[in-house]
Amino acid sequence: MVDVIFHFCKWLEQTPVGTFMRQSSWAFPTVESLHVLCGNVPLLVSTSILGARLTGRVLRDVPVSRLVAGLLPWSWIAFLIQVVTGSLLFSSAASRYAATAIFPIKMLLILLAGANALVFLRTSYRRVAQWDTAPIPPLGARIAGYLSILLWLGVLVMGRVLNTAVTLVPISVNLFGR
């Protein structure tokens, strides 16, 4: 399994895109800026507002369904932008990123954030008509709200730590020890 990942990373780095991202002096900072501006900001803002409403502490007079309808498209578009810009950044030094302990953690947090949203939409949100205008949503929704805020903040922090981790010697260099 590790073999497959290693070879995929090595292959990705050598593609024209990966090579360009690594060798061009302006490409990485530019894509990184887009990752922060067009991805981080709308994603963090939309998930935070929705998450905060679900905790029942703010915006209590706004129907939850209205926020979901208004904010979820922004979250989706921002997430797509993150996947594209993130892949470009990753391709510049794929095997080094994959060899850190931080990168898998960041990916795991993103997965958990997505799973949290999915579970919420399939359970509590199914019955939203019953609690849409209630100032304090049911327990499941409140938990989903807090989790969402924490998980996406965690992703942002891991992203910044990743910057440091990749410039230092990869922590688990034995993972791809060749």
């Binding site: 800026s33 922060v36 942002l156 910044r160 440091t164």
Partner: protein
Amino acid sequence: MLDLLGWCHWLEATPMGTSIRESQWLFPAIETVHLIGISMLVGSTSILDLRLLGVSLKKTPIATLTAMVLPWAWIGFTTQLVTGFLLFSAEATQVYTDWVFRIKMLLIAAAGINALAFHLTTNRRATQWENNLVMPMGAKIAGLSSILLWCGVVFAGRWIAFFFQ
């Protein structure tokens, strides 16, 4: 005579500037908070700007939206001032002489002037035009300028270290 460069030398030699510069984790940690501040500040201003452009939240009165969003913009701006100053103190002389940094400061000033100008003019009559199908030119210019200026600030921030000698 204002010796700003000399002040920068002094600042980066202080215990605060030195510890941020020499610590392995302090600078990244402060930078992370600076990233969160970007979301608060640029997120807030963008919500207002999109309303001024007539792109979203068209049924929300501008005064209502402003009341909801402005506190977060101020919290975000204060966060950026504090964390920005701390980051600056670590490498003050190098950053102060960097032309990208100076452009960033100019863009921030321009964003502030843009907001003030809008507040003193078009926004005075907001209740007259906020329900229009199409926003007045003054509002659209203010909204677009604001978005472009803050995007410029974020880009400039990323590129500060790029041209370091």
